[in-house]
Symmetry: C2
Subunit: 185 residues, 2 copies
DNA sequence: AACGATACGGAACGCTTGTTCCGGTTGTCA
DNA sequence: TGACAACCGGAACAAGCGTTCCGTATCGTT
């Protein structure tokens, strides 16, 4: 691989993350190319289609969040780690139009692309099981509704641009709903 | 107004509700016209723009839901009425791509168009206040997070096509989070 | 029945998009 | 340094969209 090709690949990835994150999936390829300072042809040499480029961005973000989940699992107590990661995902999704779009339009493709150990789903499940074993999340709660609520919060946070105060208030309700009656409040 | 014009207006509204509801805002005008059995020009004689047509659909839906809220307020106890209406809105939004889009892309315009007494926001607020006065919803909960959670549930329910079981499980968590600690469970 | 006003249909326009393609440029290695 | 392969930029293509426009058909009235 020629050195200028490497440099352009890095520029494209950086520009794509910035533009897609801000404007969502509907951002034109031309806008990404312009931000990267390259022609559209240069993007298409590395990524066969727009969706491939966007998947690269989404997969990378999932990988980073999964790493954060592992760090939290070691650094915090079970209940705190679970709730902190839940809030972290929502916070991360709030200003990023692309991830709401990802949950929306290409959910299946993304899941297929992230079938490895790097997905958010696995990270959440690990933290959930630990928190339930510690008695800090209600036993009868299961993964489907956790993912449903997490998706819901991410979508609404992005679409309505939740500020920190609103995010806190909304997540407080959800977390309260996940806490056993005997739990601290 | 000529009789054929009236008939075509009714056909257009019916087709628009069906197509927009199913395919969302991105449904082409040509598809609506075809479903109605008219030409696109006929739609544009009644609605100056695509957004005007779509607003007519959304406003009508809000009016119907607001009516349901009033009926619930009279027929059910405060707490039950509030939770039932919350669930009803989510259920109604689940199969309707357009209403998630409405919350998403044109939220401001829709709010401006429904500034009257027919909006969902007012209906929710009325039911919330009654439920809190009856001690069936936590006092410290306020409208912003209620609307945030309602939006979140509607968006995710539509995007992920929640079935009834998942809707029940997810809303159970939220409702549990809204219920006072001393409340029944 | 006939005529004017009204409404209809759908081709055409202008715009934006993803993607392709090729003449020209740049990096690499003998 | 020179030559070849790899790579680049951006014009061009095809498809889809909202919207406009006008010749034609239909309705209501006399």
């Amino acid at each position: 691989m020629r050195t200028d090709a490497q440099r352009n690949l890095a520029r494209v990835l950086s520009a794509a993350e910035e533009v897609l994150t801000r404007d969502g999936l509907s951002a034109p390829m031309r806008a990404i190319a312009a931000r990267a300072g390259v022609g559209v042809g240069t993007i298409y040499r590395q990524f066969p289609t727009k969706e491939a480029l966007y998947q690269a961005i989404v997969v990378d973000r999932q990988r980073r969040l999964a790493e954060e989940a592992r760090a939290l699992a070691e650094a915090a107590e079970p209940g705190a780690a679970f709730f902190a990661f839940f809030a972290r995902v929502v916070e991360d999704a709030t200003p990023k139009k692309i991830f709401a779009d990802a949950l929306t339009e290409a959910g299946i493709d993304v899941k297929a692309a992230t079938a490895g150990a790097h997905d958010i789903r696995g990270a959440v499940e690990t933290l959930l099981v630990r928190a339930q074993q510690a008695g800090e999340v209600r036993q009868e709660v299961e993964m489907p509704e956790i993912l449903a609520l997490l998706t819901a919060a991410c979508l609404a946070a992005q679409h309505q641009n939740w500020d920190e105060a609103l995010r806190t208030r909304a997540l407080d309700v959800i977390f309260h709903g996940l806490t056993p009656l005997s739990g601290k409040d």
